[in-house]
């Protein structure tokens, strides 16, 4: 699609394109699982965190692999993942490395693979694969080698990672040859790093247990050169405790990838280089494709532009019309359309070279909740592109944090982008109790609205009226008490809920792919009504009473359902209605065609008693009563 296609449908596509381009290339990941005997010990993790209490470490590792596959199907299905055991009794892998068993080759995830992983049971594993009788440093070395070969078959441009699951803090052992083994393993690890493979280690130890990382730290950082500063921007990390599945997937699900680079240009010439990262990337359902119903192959979709006057297929359309035909017709000649060239259109829109241009600084409090219109982008210095950028960035970052100010800039992403205003907000690094980084240090680039984007429905009398009641101090106090009770607390975090639309979509697809019946999916995205009632019931009650008075609540959807017309009234109400009906001879009046003498209220009583719809004009109401009586007779 050309870049400045302004058709309505194309505008959307354009927008989509903007999102899509942030999606970087793919990930290739090898799960390397140490299967010495001790892996079958119970892990003792809590089921509240996504694991079952009876799970062994073996189960835990496989479950992580499974969830990992699922997650990648949803978020980026062209990623490739392999699952490999090391330290097995049976050897089975493409290169015949001893004591290595490739459970699943490096490939895109599929429903069958997820199901296969689910089916792996301990007994089955012991029979079919088994653990090597004795542990040996060779196992890890071969495992790393096998992982490298697997990754080599993958796409050359992918980000490559090996995730090692082990409960062995010191694979070289303590024998006399330990140093020798350490050297050998390190050599393999170094080769991996040279092939641009990242190694991460997930120690399989109980939460309270310690795990010396001395050996593994060397493996993870093998081949790193302190001088070049590679580790600086990569931020390699060593330890992640397997305590919560969602936490783990969040932390280890994706490798970090840049979404673009830019120069940050200050007035009067100073520049530094930054890289952009999409840390928030809306995951969407896959769009449907069309298959050949018989061959089951994807169809090719071709689109062509056809000149309606001559029937010719156009190779290019150099002219545009504004407003487009449909709109121009609505104007009925009041304003004649303008025909302009695509080049002119481009010149209207493309007014500045790509870059991030500093305009000035403002207090951070100037940013209001309605000032952004899309997800943010993370900005980090790019030392490699322009050495010296990091120092300048850190100084600016620090100065902005100290004064609590944000930078406002013009951002032009590419040569075909129109400029937008952005705000850069400095963020401090945050770590959890284990020293694990939970939010990175850098700046968040927030995409700002223009006045043309912002609307003011809250001050439109047509929407809100003109009379705005103000709560009293007592009422506010009641609300404060309620808020206190309904606090989600420290454990709540952004991104704590799974997207039920995606989960449902993919769970059902998984079932269909395996020819199974679609499952019932439990909906976790619902307020915790029970919990709210237990903890805050009294406070909610008190708040409601303070603003609505006793025993009143505003009606919800239940009371407004369109079925209201057919609803039978409550028993006591019905009795009162029947009584009222007895006073009027509807049948008699109807026979005389004299229902019209009754008041609408009286007519409606009849409808209500019979459970009929009560709306409409008097004529319609009478019509409805007559019809009902006729029906009753037949």
């Amino acid at each position: 699609m050309a870049d400045y296609n302004y058709d309505a449908e194309d505008v959307d596509a354009d927008e989509e394109g903007f999102e899509r381009e942030f999606i970087p290339t793919r990930d290739n990941v090898v799960f390397l699982i140490d299967v010495q005997h001790s892996i079958f010990e119970s892990a003792g993790l809590k089921d509240t965190e996504g694991f079952e209490e009876t799970d062994t470490w073996f189960d835990v590792a496989l479950r992580v692999a499974r969830e990992f596959l699922k997650m990648h199907i949803i978020s980026s299905d062209s990623d490739k993942i392999a699952v490999v055991f090391y330290g097995t009794r049976v050897t089975e892998n493409a290169n015949n490395f001893e004591n290595i068993f490739t459970l699943q080759d490096l490939d895109e995830p599929s429903a069958q693979r997820i199901r296969d992983l689910e089916a792996v049971r301990e007994q089955d594993f012991v029979d079919r694969v088994g653990s090597a009788p004795e542990k040996s440093p060779e196992h890890l070395r071969n495992g790393l080698w096998a992982a490298q070969q697997l990754l080599h078959t993958g796409s050359s441009k992918a980000y490559k990672r090996v995730l090692i699951f082990t409960n062995d803090a010191n694979p070289p052992g303590t024998s006399k040859q330990a140093d020798n083994f350490r050297e050998l393993i390190m050599a393999r690890a170094t080769t991996l790093h040279e092939a641009n493979v990242t190694v991460e280690v997930l120690p399989l130890v109980k939460p309270e247990q310690s795990f010396p990382m001395a050996f593994w730290n060397h493996i993870v950082h093998a081949g790193e050169d302190a001088e070049t500063g590679t580790s600086f921007s990569e931020g390699a990390d060593t330890l992640y405790r397997l305590q919560s599945l969602p936490g783990l997937l969040r932390q280890r699900g994706y490798r970090k990838r840049t979404a673009g680079k830019a120069r940050w240009i200050f007035p009067e010439g100073f520049q530094l280089a930054v890289a952009m990262y999409a840390l928030i990337q809306p995951a969407t359902k896959s769009t449907p494709v069309y298959l050949h119903a018989i061959k089951n192959e994807p169809l090719r979709i071709e689109s062509a532009l056809i000149c309606q006057d001559t029937g010719a297929i156009l190779t290019e359309v150099p002219k545009r019309m504004f407003p487009k035909k449909a709109d121009a017709e609505k104007l009925a000649g009041r304003i004649l359309p303008v025909i302009i060239s695509t080049q002119e259109l481009r010149e209207l829109k493309i007014v500045k070279d790509p870059g991030l241009y500093l305009l000035g600084f403002k207090p951070r409090s100037c940013l209001r909740p309605w000032h952004t219109w899309r997800q943010s982008t993370f900005v980090y210095p790019d030392e490699r592109a322009m050495p010296g950028s990091t120092t300048a960035f850190i100084a600016l970052h620090e100065a902005m944090l100290q004064s609590d100010r944000m930078a406002v800039c013009t951002y032009v992403r590419t040569r075909n982008s129109e400029p937008r205003l952005v705000a850069l907000v400095a963020a401090q690094e945050e770590k959890d109790d284990y020293g694990e980084q939970v939010s990175p240090p850098g700046m968040h680039m927030l995409h700002l609205c223009f006045a043309d984007d912002i609307r003011t429905p809250e001050s439109d009398p047509n929407l809100v009226g003109t009379d705005f009641p103000k709560a009293s101090e007592d009422q506010i106090a009641a609300a404060e008490a309620m808020i206190e009770k309904l606090s989600m607390g420290e454990s709540a975090y952004v991104g704590m809920f799974q997207n039920p639309m995606l989960q449902r979509h993919y769970q059902v697809l998984e079932a269909l792919a395996l020819g199974e019946l679609p499952p019932e999916v439990d909906d976790r995205l619902q307020p915790d009504i029970q919990g709210m009632q237990t903890v805050g019931g009294a406070a909610i009650d008190a708040f409601r009473t303070s603003v609505y008075g006793p025993d009143y609540d505003e009606p919800g959807f239940g009371a407004k359902k369109p079925t209201a017309g057919n609803k039978r009234p409550a028993p006591e109400e019905e009795a009162a209605l029947m009584e009222a009906l007895e006073g009027i001879d509807y049948e008699g009046l109807a026979a005389k065609g004299a229902l019209g003498r009754l008041k609408v209220d009286e007519l409606k009583k009849y409808l209500k008693a019979k459970g009929l719809k009560q709306t409409g004009k008097k004529d319609e109401v009478i019509q409805r009563i007559t019809e009902h009586m006729e029906k009753g007779k037949t």
Partner: protein, 688 residues
């Protein structure tokens, strides 16, 4: 029936001449937008301070023997839907003397006349507005004015006419005395009349005065907001902001010269069998499917409903959090507001109490928002953060909502601590430089907040409307260069007032912080976009289906490449050839595929030279060099390239030095051939 009536009373007296061009541009943008987006709105242009006189009130009084009243007021365009004659390119430079009270009187009169002629316009839902634009330098006459204003107020009130006063305030212009008198009079007039007052200080503010498209505020959701299962508030939710895109243009074909040519272009879509390019597939042979990992899962229409998530519609509270625990960079989309139901005293009170309590306790609400549930498409559910927004006389206490990311949307990544490398830490003096920069480059340099989003117009969209309006009025009107565009300069360029305060620091920065300047290397996505040509190509291939014609494949890369070029798809050709080459080489058993790959590289170079895409090719060649020159397995491929003397396109000297630099091969240990992965795919597939 008209949706709204607006009379634009524009001061064109001598003291306004300097503003003429800007005012004209603002108005023609507005009138074009009105015609397009609110075609039933009616407008009237009234100039005051004109040399001549042309208005009905004057005529009437003259007929009654009093020709000295309401002079120098000209009704340029009577009340009607804006048409081409509204898109005037020049404002008259008036030489007459008139004041705003008379102008408003004539404006009100033209509304009254319309109401008399068409009584249906009296309805309350037809907006009636007088827009008064002036710098208020023409002193209002003072004798008998009070009674006059009183009766004017009465007339405006009785017809529910509101006033929008746009005051051009330029403190340096002098005439403060006149202005003060006028302001006093104006406030008397406004006291009893529904009004809005805008103070404009810069040309950009004047140009961005009117939004490029007005929206009526409709509720996207109206219904209960539930707290637990114990309490309900009736609320409405409406969009608070939405990115405004450039208006749509249509394709226009010039193929036919016939007088009655429609010039229409139709976009036709055909579904074809991937293995048989000529076979069209009729709808009944098409099966809908979704991708699940590497599989395509056909979904029957009856199964489609299972895929959808269908919770109950509604909006409910999930809990409260400390405001600081949800920084704004977590916002996913455009914001909404949640307001209490109109006229519902109880819900208004409840919302007011909640909003005040949240503000005092610095809390935000986490809210589950399911505005719509359809039978087939399922729900659109979101978790939102709700911020308290305290009301005023004009607006109720309400919540501002924005979408929070779901777990699937988060890509947690780690970055090194900024203090990790001591040698990269800034010194105290470097830090001081940045501190003073942050302090001096202050966007409050003009005492008012610059670039406040709520008041900053989008220069590109205004440029678009303004140019189109000019074109509609005069086909020869030139496209202004970006650097001459006032809105672009004032919005996207640093402001002189801001820079001048910080000039000292800015000049010293390079001395204190040494950043090595290098050519910016754009990454894949950016490069690809750059390579896009200006023209729209005829046959664009869409969809996920893979085929030999859609991209350059590995079986016949040169052939595919040439076909794509012939079909006018050079960007696809150029972007998909490199991955095919990488695939060929990476999967080559020994040197088996090298010849084919080299031929593809040569073909691309030839085409690059012809089509002026040297940069794309050079980047590719550089990538090949860095990937294969020292690659243990495939370094021989690079030798093939060198043997063919495949050079950079462009500067021969550069090409020669690149060649020399990369042609010296080093001997390294031979490595056994690897397994071949047949499933290797197009590297860029995921990016299209």
């Amino acid at each position: 029936m008209a949706k709204s009536l607006a009379v634009f009373a524009i001061d064109v007296g001598t003291h306004m001449h300097a503003y003429g061009d800007l005012v004209a541009e603002t108005l023609r943008t507005l009138f074009l937008s009105k015609a397009l987006n609110k075609p039933r709105d009616e407008c009237c242009i009234l100039y005051y301070g004109t040399t001549g006189t042309k208005n009905a009130v004057h005529d009437e009084m003259a007929a009654q023997g009093d020709p000295g009243e309401y002079l120098h007021i000209t009704v340029q365009q009577p009340l009607q839907p804006p048409n081409a004659s509204f898109l005037m390119l020049n404002m008259p430079k008036g030489g007459g003397n008139s004041d705003f009270v008379d102008a408003v009187t004539v404006a009100a009169d033209s509304i009254n006349r319309a109401l008399q002629a068409r009584p249906e316009l009296e309805k309350a839902n037809v907006g009636k507005e007088i827009v008064l634009l002036s710098n208020f330098h023409a002193k209002v006459r003072e004798d008998g004015i009070d009674e006059f204003v009183e009766s004017l107020v009465e007339s405006l009130q009785s017809k529910a006419v509101s006033l929008h006063v746009i005051s051009l305030d330029n403190a340096a212009s002098g005439r403060q005395e006149e202005k003060e008198v006028n302001t006093t009079m104006l406030s008397k007039l406004l006291k009893e009349v529904k009004h809005k007052q805008t103070h404009v200080q810069t040309p950009a503010e004047l140009l961005g005065l009117f939004k490029c498209k007005e929206y009526s505020n409709t509720a996207y959701y109206a219904g209960p907001f539930t707290i637990g299962n114990m309490m309900t508030m009736r609320v409405k939710i409406a969009k608070k902001a939405k990115k405004e895109t450039l208006p749509a243009t249509g394709l226009y074909s010039e193929k036919s010269r016939a007088a009655d040519a429609s010039h229409d272009v139709l976009r036709e879509r055909e579904y074809k069998d991937a293995s048989d390019p000529d076979a069209m597939v009729p709808p009944e042979e098409r099966a809908k499917a979704y991708k699940y990992g590497k599989q395509y899962v056909p979904v029957q229409p009856e199964d489609e409903a299972y895929l959808a998530y269908r919770p109950d519609r509604g909006i409910s509270l999930m809990g409260f959090l400390d405001a600081e625990s949800i920084p704004q960079h977590y916002h996913m989309k455009d914001p909404w507001v949640m307001v209490p139901e109109k006229g519902n005293e109880r819900s208004g009170l409840a919302m007011s109490a909640l909003v005040h309590a949240m503000a005092r306790k610095e809390q935000v609400a986490v809210i589950l928002f399911v505005p719509r549930v359809s039978e087939t498409g399922g729900a659109n559910a979101a978790t939102c953060v709700g911020y308290p927004l305290l009301g005023s006389g004009q607006q109720p206490d309400c919540l501002v909502l924005n979408h929070l990311p779901f777990a699937e949307d988060m890509r947690v990544a780690k970055f090194a601590s900024l203090d990790e490398k001591p040698d990269l830490m800034p010194s105290t003096s470097q830090l001081d430089q940045m501190r003073s920069l942050v302090e001096t480059m202050d966007l409050f340099a003009d005492t008012r907040e610059a670039l406040l989003p709520d008041l900053t117009a989008n220069p590109v969209i205004h440029r678009f409307y303004s140019y189109m309006a000019s074109q509609a009025a005069d086909k020869d009107y030139p496209l202004p260069a970006p650097h001459e565009d006032v809105l672009i300069n004032e919005t996207f360029e640093p402001r002189p007032a801001v820079i001048s305060k910080a000039a000292n620091v800015l000049h010293k920065l390079p001395e204190h912080l040494h950043v090595e300047k290098k050519e910016l290397v754009l990454d894949g996505a950016q490069l690809k976009e750059e390579a896009k040509p200006v023209e729209e190509t005829a046959f664009s291939l869409e969809g996920a289906a893979a085929s030999s014609v859609e991209t350059v494949g590995t079986s016949d890369p040169v052939g595919d490449f040439e076909v794509l070029l012939k079909e006018g798809n050079p960007d696809v050709a150029f972007s998909s050839l490199p991955p095919a080459v990488f695939t060929l080489v990476d999967n080559s058993l020994g040197e088996r595929n090298y010849d084919k790959a080299v031929r593809a590289v040569v073909a691309m170079r030839t085409a690059a030279e012809e089509l002026d895409r040297g940069q794309t090719f050079n980047t590719f060649l550089g990538e090949l060099a860095s990937k294969y020159e020292h690659d243990r397995q495939h370094r021989n491929f690079w030798q093939f390239i060198i043997r063919e003397r495949v050079m950079l396109v462009g500067n021969p000297e550069e090409a020669e030095s690149f060649f020399k630099q990369h042609s010296g091969a080093k001997e390294e240990e031979a490595v056994a051939p690897m397994e071949v992965n047949e499933d290797e795919e197009d590297e860029f597939a995921g990016m299209d």
